[in-house]
């Protein structure tokens, strides 16, 4: 089975574009025609009256809303990943101001919980006789229940249910973007499970999360000049988060010299040449060279040249964060390559993944970790006024003691002592109530964010943020998530029934805001993933029994309480300020290690022995970042781990309300495998 690229088109089949009309409700003004009879109109006044009539007519009619959704990429999305949803709203009636709401279902059997709805909302104003496209990124956990789209305004309501089962693909989607209709007849052959979908540039989503179900984005003969800023940022974020972009060269080489595409190209394109191309080296490849192939001449800027012919880089690959950009200088859309039989196989080789993804070590984040945090005395004082309560109790007991002493000593009339004592008790109760319920620094809720930034390539880090939003009040919490977030996974949804579901507000730029209703003493746990720039390089080189560490902190943050841990060794490195750059040698052998830098002997890397002054840091480190049960095997296998706490970390998730307290703990870590004796 093979998949061929179809020309991009806007019109989907009727089945993939369900729509719904609201009935027009006319409340036409009663104009008596004879009112104007006998008048001598000029032509202008007749036109004016006509316009006035039309205006009044339209304003007295109800809005007529037509909902036309476009699911995924031309009706295809990968199951289990977020996908773009474009909703076209056409209003053929009077202006309407309302809310577009999309409901998807989360949880369910695959997530080990009960299904619950998640609402996406956007406020929309639809002028009279207008059409508006709304881009959303939705992420249902299961699709056996329909997606529901509703537009509701005070006067009108239109809704539509979409059965998503007709659109999903189990494998990621490959996107092809090409100028106009000059798509080469690409075919990847039967080996590829990915669906190949052709898009126009404007159809690229402005939210990087919408691209998470895309394995490759192929650009051919395409200018990126018309990409919006949010689309460019989305592509950037998607790439750094692990996306794969393939840029195919074409005869129109000036397109490749534009700044918009240059930011992705690993080469600087200088011209075009005809070359003789040898497609090898495949294992059974004995094909002859192909002459007169159009190839772009270029000079390599970043990345690695994988194939070169006659001094022209043919295949260049560069990494971008966790993602990869592949540049093929050949024009495969024009003869002779377009007629070459081996093209599908060759393209499969170009698109093939070089190896498994280097998945970052997951942190542990569940109710047991949260329970440890919440019961830590140092943390309790962040949301309960323990100090004030202690003082109040002691003060009250002392006061009662004084009154009983005065009563027995009879220094004052007993009636006076009794009345004063009653006042004291009453005022203590009332004052304490006001202090503990409304006064002081008692927050309505606390947002705890603990993040591990895993060092990745090129100064990028993959940040796993574990969030705990807990509330002491019944109220709504607005969680604002900074741009660039990828996955937001609810870790726990406690069994008790929720009165209201969570709502996601998405704006056009890809920013999101979550509205969480919480009861008193209620909580929610989440994981969020980001890929971000954090130019701190920690490089290791093993030289016999020594470990050479080069560190260069070009980030804007200081690191505190840094450690280097290797099997049997640990070294306290203290603070590393921004701009610091040094190279140090650390002994890997036991004897030397014991002499230098306070290194300590143990059989394997034991993170439990690393102390932190801050109790919350200690709990997070030992229970979440380096959980003993999950990590022990990996640590004993021979790795060096460098880590340090980031001072004043950037807040990625926040609740902007002074009644909510935000706590951020961010750890930078770099894990490097060490060569064993057999490797040396």
């Amino acid at each position: 089975m093979s998949f061929s690229v179809q020309a991009p088109h806007r019109d989907l089949s009727e089945s993939s574009r369900p729509s719904l009309h609201c009935r027009v409700r006319f409340r036409s003004p009663k104009f008596a025609s004879d009112t104007f009879s006998g008048w001598n109109y000029s032509r202008e006044s007749a036109v004016s009256v006509l316009f006035l009539f039309l205006f009044l007519f339209s304003s007295f009619c109800s809005a007529e809303i037509l909902i036309e959704p476009r699911i995924g990429f031309h009706g295809v999305f990968q199951l289990g990943r977020p996908f773009p949803l474009e909703v076209d709203l056409s209003n053929s009636g009077r202006p309407a101001e309302g809310t577009l709401e999309v409901v998807v279902w989360k949880g369910g059997a695959t997530k080990g919980g009960v299904p619950y709805p998640l609402y996406y909302r956007r406020d929309i104003f639809l002028p009279a006789q207008s059409r508006k496209s709304v881009h959303l990124t939705v992420d249902p956990d299961f699709i056996s229940r329909p997606l529901k789209i509703t537009f509701s305004s005070p006067a009108d309501r239109a809704s539509l249910e979409v059965d998503l089962r007709r659109y999903f693909s189990p494998a990621p989607v490959t996107l092809m973007v090409s100028e106009g209709n000059t798509i080469p007849p690409l075919s990847f052959g039967s080996a590829s499970a990915n669906r190949l979908v052709a898009l126009t540039l404007t159809e690229l989503p402005p939210d990087p999360r919408a691209l998470l179900g895309v394995s490759h984005l192929i650009l051919y003969d395409q200018s990126l000049r018309d990409l919006s800023r949010s689309q460019l940022l989305a592509l950037d974020s998607w790439l750094t988060a692990g996306g794969r972009m393939v840029i195919l060269g074409s005869l129109n080489y000036p397109l490749y010299q534009e700044p918009a595409i240059s930011r992705f190209l690993p080469v600087r394109v200088t011209g075009i040449k005809r070359i003789s191309f040898h497609p090898g080296p495949g294992p059974n490849d004995s094909s002859a060279p192909i002459d007169n192939v159009w190839a772009q001449a270029s000079t390599v800027v970043t990345g690695k040249v994988l194939a070169e012919t006659q001094g022209i880089p043919v295949l260049v690959e560069a990494s971008r964060g966790k993602g990869r950009i592949t540049y093929l200088s050949l024009d495969i859309g024009r003869p002779p390559l377009s007629q070459w039989d081996g093209l599908p196989k060759f393209l499969q080789r170009v698109l093939a993944s070089p190896g498994g993804d280097d998945l970052a070590l997951r942190t542990r984040w569940d109710e047991t970790v949260f329970a440890q945090l919440i019961q830590s005395p140092s943390f309790i004082s962040t949301y309960v006024p323990t100090g004030a309560l202690f003082l109040a109790i002691v003060g009250y007991l002392l006061g009662i003691g004084v009154f009983s002493w005065l009563w027995q000593r009879r220094r004052f009339a007993r009636r006076t002592v009794m009345v004063t004592g009653l006042c004291f008790v009453t005022l203590s109760g009332l004052g304490g109530y006001l202090l503990f319920s409304r006064g002081g620094n008692i927050p309505d809720g606390v947002l705890l964010s603990s993040t591990v930034m895993e060092s990745s390539a090129d100064g990028y880090v993959e940040a796993q943020s574990n969030l705990a939003m807990f509330s002491t009040q019944i109220r709504q919490y607005d969680l604002a998530i900074e741009r660039g977030w990828m996955d937001l996974i609810p870790v726990s949804v406690p069994a008790k029934e929720r009165a209201e579901p969570a709502v996601v507000f998405q704006d056009g730029s890809g920013s999101s805001r979550f509205q969480l209703p919480l009861r008193e003493w209620d909580y929610r746990l989440f994981r969020v993933r980001f890929v971000d720039r954090f130019p701190l390089r920690a490089e290791f080189e093993q030289q016999g029994g020594k470990l050479l560490m080069r560190l260069n902190n070009q980030s804007a943050k200081d690191l505190a309480d840094c450690w280097l841990v290797a099997p049997g060794q640990r070294y306290a490195l203290g603070d590393i300020p921004r701009g610091a750059s040094w190279t140090r040698e650390f002994a890997l052998t036991v004897e030397e290690g014991q002499q230098q830098g306070g290194g300590r002997r143990s059989d394997a890397v034991d993170f439990r022995e690393i102390p932190f002054k801050d109790k919350t840091r200690e709990i997070l480190f030992h229970a979440s970042f380096f959980p003993r049960d999950d990590g022990s095997v990996r640590w004993s296998a021979g790795t060096a781990v460098f880590f340090g706490w980031v001072k004043d970390p950037d807040r990625r998730v926040s609740v902007r309300d002074n009644r909510i307290r935000n706590y951020d703990y961010t750890l930078f870590r770099a894990i490097v495998p060490l060569a064993g004796p057999e490797d040396e």
């Binding site: 309560l389 009250y396 007991l397 009662i400 109760g429 109530y433 006001l434 002491t472 003493w521 909580y523």
Partner: protein
Amino acid sequence: MKDNPVLRESLEVFFGEGHGFAVYFYLLIILAPVEFFSLYLPSLDAQMWSGSASLFKVSAVTTLLLMVYFALRVANQEFAPWRFKATKRWLREDGLAIATVGQGQLAFLSLHVALSMLLCLPFLIWAAAIARTPLPRVAGTLLLLMFYAFSYSIWGLATLVLWERRAESRQVFIRCWFFFVVVISALFYLPVNPVAFLLAYLGRQELAPLSIAGWKAPAAVAHFAFHLLVAFTGLMAYRWALRRDLAV
């Protein structure tokens, strides 16, 4: 009522001579650390993840136990018993009417319960503020605490008159009675138990209705009917014992 000699004697012994201060000292000195340290204890309730969420529950239950226990002991005249005149002497030698003796002892018991409640009130209100307990629930809890303390401690008065010369027997009975009403009663039918009912009330939980031979009664009805019965039978037993004292 002011001139009631029984009440005046009790007031003099408890507050004039200061023998009753120990009761309130114990009450506060136990409640204060329980309230403070319960902030740091894991919650008993799986849905509530911290001691602070259950602070009012813990404080209210502690107050309930302390108030009932000390009210029973006060009614039983366990504090400075040598300073109180025996009931028989009030009735026979001083020639007081049964109603006068009964009113005096009941009034003093009520005063003790009210004073205990008043002294514990700040602790309970602070706990309610921290645990975000709604004020109507707090008010309901205070009324329940007073209701329990009064309805159980009437039995302290009954035993006092029944076995006036057998102090050890009275003390054993009082402790057994306390143990029965706060622990054993839960084994028969949970909503009858005051601790279970109070926790359910604060947690807004529905308790199982009482079902006897197809006839069902709501848990709250069964609970209050049981406690009114306890109070009424205690009052009847007390009245009967006073009459017996006068007759013998």
